[in-house]
């Protein structure tokens, strides 16, 4: 069954579901991060998405813009460090693009994630190939923009596939930004945790978009 519209209630369920998945993967994300980072990516993400879940759960609103902003602000205040604004910004930027929309269609979602990518690229300073979240996020957004159709779960699935392909490619990169840039060649063979988180988020949004 095709889903072409996300109304506020479904969007809220999806975001809460993303939070639960990220929280449940805390140890896995830390383990991935321990090879090339300081091993705490999962902790920051878990704190961030716990705060996001709690802030969103407490909010009664039928405005997708407000839901996205509250969720993003939770990540910002809960995760701290650089991850807070970078991952919270994904949703805060979505909130800005969704202003005035009562419900989201495929085209709105593409706008959301393009704004998210633009924020991360301009504020974070990383380019594709730097072995960061951008290596998943950029291919994902490009896949969304190339997607022909209005089925939202399929849109997210296309994005997630491109994101996971990007994660696989990060194994071959030497880091250009973030903590692991001090490692040089020792970073080869290991995937980036931030890119992994992006893929998990997109995949989960797609899965939950098709649930009632």
């Amino acid at each position: 069954m095709s889903v072409t519209v996300l109304e506020a209630a479904r969007l809220k369920k999806m975001l809460l579901g993303v939070a639960e998945v990220i929280i449940s993967k805390k140890d896995e994300l830390c383990a991935i991060d321990s090879f090339i980072g300081d091993g705490d990516h999962g902790i920051g993400m878990s704190h961030g998405f716990t705060a996001a879940r709690d802030q969103l759960a407490a909010l009664e609103s039928d405005d997708p813009s407000k839901l996205l902003r509250a969720f993003g602000m939770g990540v910002v205040t809960g995760a701290g460090g650089a991850s807070g604004p970078l991952f919270g910004g994904l949703f805060i930027e979505g909130g800005k693009t969704a202003k005035g929309s009562g419900e989201l269609k495929a085209a709105d979602i593409v706008k959301w994630w393009r704004a998210a990518l633009d924020y991360v690229r301009s504020k974070g300073g990383a380019k594709p190939g730097d072995k960061t979240m951008v290596d998943a996020l950029q291919p994902a957004v490009e896949a969304m923009e190339a997607f022909d159709g209005d089925d939202i779960p399929e849109l997210f699935a296309a994005a997630a596939k491109a994101a996971w392909d990007g994660v696989e490619k990060t194994k071959n990169y030497v880091a250009g930004q973030g903590r692991s840039r001090y490692l040089g060649e020792r970073a080869l063979g290991h995937q980036d945790a931030g890119a992994t988180s992006i893929s998990i988020i997109l995949e989960t949004l797609g899965r939950l978009a098709s649930e009632a």
């Binding site: 910002v76 701290g80 460090g81 650089a82 807070g84 604004p85 504020k123 973030g178």
Partner: protein, 331 residues
């Protein structure tokens, strides 16, 4: 590593509670927050508000620069973590006297992201914000965008605080603050690692007789790991690197700082100062003033930073202006 604390995850909250007990007569908590404090005489209508902050764990930076002639409001995050935008926004709202707010903080990825987001929130609330990021540490190389802020924080906030107290506009306060920051160059040498309160673990390892020149305030890799050498070799080496980056001519005047990273003794700092002064004298550069002590630490990291700030008459005037904080006072 033994530390005097309670629950490790409460170190920042407990520290500020202690500061409030000792010095609550001159500062107030902002919005009931754990780690955001404002001068009791701020904001002043029509005076630029100086907002200063960054991660905890570097005391006396930043709270040690809260006071008359220095920062009006200080906002600190967790240990070695940037404060989050909501805290920075509360600080900006508290300090806004209608003449705008100057953010001063170190050039670190996490801080930039969080303070920039806060700046957006301030714009939404009609608060005009300018920003000066400190980037005095020369160890990362020529590109100033990549340089980290270490000890220049003190002189940057001193000049900003004095300029604001003198009634300068936001544009002028930013101008002279940026000039002070642009005239600072720092390089440090680390002897022993710091340990994190929460884990008790060192942030990196150094051999018994090893030192690292240019190591960052959070254990970021430096430019050269070597064996310990006498001060009369290390200080000229460091000063030489600084002067390669920022050429000084005979007759130039500088302010000199020797800063302890936390564990290094005053005795050692004064010995390094002796050698650094001799180096500058041999170049005909005049050391117009000196600061020696503990200004920006990394827990109990051993080592010191040497910093120079080239001064003109304007910077000298603001450096000499009276100031008063819990750790830095000038009459």
């Amino acid at each position: 590593m033994k530390k005097l604390m309670n629950t490790p995850s409460d170190v920042v909250k407990d520290m500020f509670a202690g500061i409030e007990k000792c010095f609550g007569d001159r500062m107030s908590r902002v919005a009931g927050l754990n780690s955001v404090f404002i001068r009791k005489d701020a904001p002043v209508e029509g005076r630029v508000g100086i907002l200063f902050g960054g991660g905890s764990g570097h005391e006396p930076m930043f709270i040690g620069c809260l006071g008359e002639g220095l920062a009006d409001v200080v906002v600190q995050g967790g240990v070695f973590a940037s404060p989050t935008p909501n805290l920075i926004l509360e600080a900006a709202k508290a300090v806004d006297g209608g003449a705008g707010v100057l953010f001063i903080y170190g050039n670190y990825a996490g801080d930039i992201l969080n303070f920039d987001m806060a700046e957006e929130f301030c714009a939404d609330e009609g608060i005009e914000v300018r920003t000066v990021r400190t980037c005095d540490d020369i160890s990362t190389g020529k590109d100033r965008e990549l340089r980290r802020g270490v000890t220049a924080d003190l002189y940057t906030v001193k000049i900003a605080g004095a300029a604001a107290a003198a009634g300068l506009s936001l544009t002028e306060v930013e101008r002279v603050t940026r000039k002070a920051m642009d005239n600072c160059r720092t390089l440090g040498v680390c002897l022993t690692p710091a340990t994190l309160p929460e884990t008790g673990l060192p942030t990196f390892t150094l051999g018994e007789d090893e030192i690292e020149v240019g190591m960052g305030a959070h254990g970021e890799a430096g430019i050269k790991r070597m064996k310990i050498a006498p001060a009369n070799e290390l200080a000229p080496y460091i000063m030489g690197k600084i002067c390669d980056d920022y050429p000084l001519a005979a007759g130039d005047e500088v302010i000199f700082m020797a800063n302890s990273m936390g564990a290094t003794t005053l005795m050692e700092l004064f010995i390094m100062a002796k050698e650094a002064h001799a180096f500058l004298e041999s170049m005909g550069v005049k050391v117009w003033a000196s600061d020696v002590g503990e200004f920006m630490t990394t827990q109990e990291m051993g080592g010191c930073h040497l910093m120079l700030m080239k001064v003109d008459e304007e910077l000298k005037k603001y450096y000499q202006a009276p100031c008063s904080s819990i750790t830095y006072t000038r009459r």
